[in-house]
């Protein structure tokens, strides 16, 4: 059916969205990247010279380096906590005999819908009273509350993607609980865990409000540092930092796309042959 309404919409939308998507995706890149390579202090078109001076400055800025290191540490810790908790929750809700499965799902997903400014306002006095303001662990713990729901989602859908008979089968073949998990469950959800971990890291990498409330000068994360920088000066160093962050984010996105494609291939070949 090459003449249906949907196909007419399709043609329209293909063109429209290519433009729309590219504009939104490319605007930051088109604005930020040229600035980051400009030779002038203030950006002007046409560009006179290409220069790496702002990247140079970025590389030699202890502030940016510290912020980047902090962000990566917080992101990795967030991802680790989220993967453990999210996977456990998914196993319990999807495979176990949980009485209040729906309620648990709701609780796991709740931090995702809570406005972050409110989460931040609410968590701030608690963290303060624990004396943990400025602690990277505190930031990671709060980030993990949100990120756990991301891992929960990806691992749940991986678990729903194959029959529980697979595990029953392993048991009849003589595998106890641990062996069953290790030989069957884990290989089947591995991909979901990895994608969930990347989502968790990316969320933490980008998050700014909670970090604004809970970090101090020593534990500041990259978005917060950039935010502070931009408030005081419009220095092309920030464009260079943004360009690096864009490349970093797009790499994570590509990793997810590749992992998901690998998963789809594995799954579709199962389906077509059955």
């Amino acid at each position: 059916m090459n003449w249906t309404l949907f196909d007419r919409i399709a043609k329209l939308v293909t063109i429209g969205f290519s433009v729309f998507g590219l504009v939104y995706l490319l605007t930051p890149i088109l604005v930020i990247v040229p600035i980051s390579f400009s030779a002038d202090r203030f950006f002007s078109l046409p560009m006179h010279d290409i220069s790496f001076q702002w990247y140079d400055r970025l590389w030699n800025s202890t502030g940016y380096l510290l912020a980047f290191t902090n962000t990566v540490i917080v992101g990795v810790v967030t991802a680790l906590i989220a993967v453990v908790l999210g996977t456990l929750a998914a196993l319990a809700v999807v495979r176990g005999n949980v009485v209040f499965g729906r309620v648990i799902s709701g609780l796991v997903m709740a931090p995702l819908v809570m406005p972050q400014i409110i989460l931040a306002i609410g968590v701030f006095p608690v963290v303060a009273s624990l004396g943990m303001l400025g602690s990277k662990l505190a930031v990671a713990a709060v980030h993990a509350a949100v990120a756990t729901s991301l891992v929960f989602t990806t691992v749940s859908s991986a678990l729903r993607g194959y029959s529980p008979n697979m595990e029953l089968s392993a048991m009849t073949l003589g595998a106890g609980h641990i062996h069953t998990f290790w030989h069957v469950t884990f290989p089947m959800i591995r991909l979901g865990m990895m994608v969930g971990a990347i989502f968790a890291f990316a969320f933490s990498f980008d998050e700014i409000i909670i970090a604004l409330f809970l970090t101090d000068a020593s534990s500041v994360t990259l978005p917060v540092y950039m935010w502070n920088e931009i408030r005081f000066q419009m220095d092309p160093t920030i464009a260079a930092a943004s360009a690096v962050a864009i490349v970093f984010s797009l790499s994570l996105l590509s990793a997810v796309a590749l992992l998901q494609r690998a998963g789809r291939n594995q799954k579709s070949s199962t389906e077509t042959k059955l």
Binding site: M171, L173, H179
Partner: protein, 380 residues
């Protein structure tokens, strides 16, 4: 006859003698076993013995309790009452991974991330079999199901029939004394299904283990099992060979579940010698050579192929008059639908090679059959 011959030509496939050193099956006893979920009875208290090495099949519609019985056997669910003995040993409380049962699932449940060889090696690894022995046993298991050169491939790269063979190899490589198969062929298409039925029968002959085969397909059960149990509404309704069940169904459910049955409603019944004379609700008086002892003799059961269709009134024990409403041909069999007394449509089959008369639709005809092909049965 020896197994090696069968590899020579792809056309040949014939039964192979039992391989020495393989396990012999164990008998299974179900003793008053029953399963309740709250107040709902998924399985009514059941006693059943499956003999050592027997190929036993359970058939029934979905929700009849087949899956519950199977889950109890494999150990996935715990019985509410009663227990199960395998080889005389009570297995109550024994977890599935210690029951040493080989189980084949509907969708094969092969591990997609392991190769065929690793899949079959898995139960041996779990049992701590030495590496070198594993390799040779995997190889001979694959040979047993007539699959070769697929050891290093992943299950997804195989066809449905090949995957099912791998699943059979995996479930039998550790010589279980009992193999449980849960609708193992339902995902395959019809031709492949018939081929695999034969393969499974042969595998059973070679291994000698007890087989519990659960299916909803009566044809599959009939062509494979020595005895068949028919389940309905949480209980076993009747047990017997395919032939016994077809020729002597004990009630309406069994008669209608196995093949086609013409059921004529009975109004009255009198004994006649060792048999009986029934008056149908349509007023016909029909003779049966078999009597009826149970209560509620409600139906006369006549199989479609027992009836002969004729233009003139035949000289058979039982005769009924009717009008042909439909006539179709399929795979060598002519099937007529005949409306009798304007109230009930009965079916009649005849293989065309022996058919003498194929009436047009709308023709008045006689259906005749013998007293010995007439059965009086109850409602349930």
């Amino acid at each position: 006859m020896n197994a090696a011959v069968s590899e020579k030509s792809r056309i040949v496939s014939r039964p192979v003698g039992r391989v020495e050193g393989q396990s012999n099956g164990q008998p299974i006893d179900y003793i008053g076993i029953c399963k309740r979920y709250g107040t709902a009875l998924a399985l009514k208290p059941t006693d059943l013995r499956i003999e050592a090495g027997e190929f036993f099949s359970i058939i029934g519609p979905s929700g009849s309790g087949k899956t519950t019985l199977l889950g109890l056997t494999a150990g996935f669910i715990a019985a509410s009452e009663g227990h199960i003995k395998i080889g005389g040993v009570n297995i109550e409380g024994v977890p599935p991974f210690k029951r040493n049962i080989g189980m084949v699932f509907q969708n094969y449940s092969l591990f997609p991330h392991k190769t065929v060889g690793q899949n079959i090696a898995f139960p041996l690894q779990m049992r701590g079999v030495p590496k070198r022995e594993i390799a040779s046993r995997v190889e001979s298991a694959l040979r047993l199901v007539r699959l070769e050169n697929v050891t290093d491939r992943h299950p997804n790269a195989l066809s449905g029939g090949q995957q099912q063979r791998v699943a059979l190899a995996r479930a039998s490589v550790y010589n279980p004394s009992l193999m449980v198969m849960d609708e193992p062929l339902s995902a395959l298409d019809k031709n492949l299904r018939e081929e695999m039925q034969y393969e499974i029968k042969q595998l059973h002959a070679k291994l000698g283990c007890t087989v519990l085969y659960v299916t909803h397909d009566q044809g599959e059960a009939a062509s494979m099992a020595r005895r068949i149990a028919i389940m309905n509404a949480g209980e076993i309704v009747q047990i017997g060979s395919a032939r016994e069940l077809y020729r002597n169904p004990q009630n309406r459910f069994v008669a209608a579940f196995l093949g086609q049955a013409n059921l004529l409603p009975v109004a009255g019944l009198e004994p006649l010698g060792s048999g009986a004379v029934a008056t149908t609700q349509f007023g016909d008086r029909l003779v049966s050579t078999k009597g009826y002892e149970g209560k509620g003799a409600s139906w006369l059961c006549v199989r479609p192929e027992a009836m002969r269709i004729t233009a003139a009134k035949p000289d058979t024990d039982n005769v009924v008059k009717g009008v042909v409403v439909d006539s179709t041909f399929m795979n060598g069999v002519q099937r007529h639908r005949v409306n009798i007394h304007d109230r009930l449509v009965v079916e009649q089959f005849e293989q065309i090679l022996s058919a003498s008369y194929t009436p047009e639709i709308g023709t008045e005809v006689y259906l005749g059959w013998r007293a010995e092909d007439t059965l009086v049965i109850g409602d349930s």
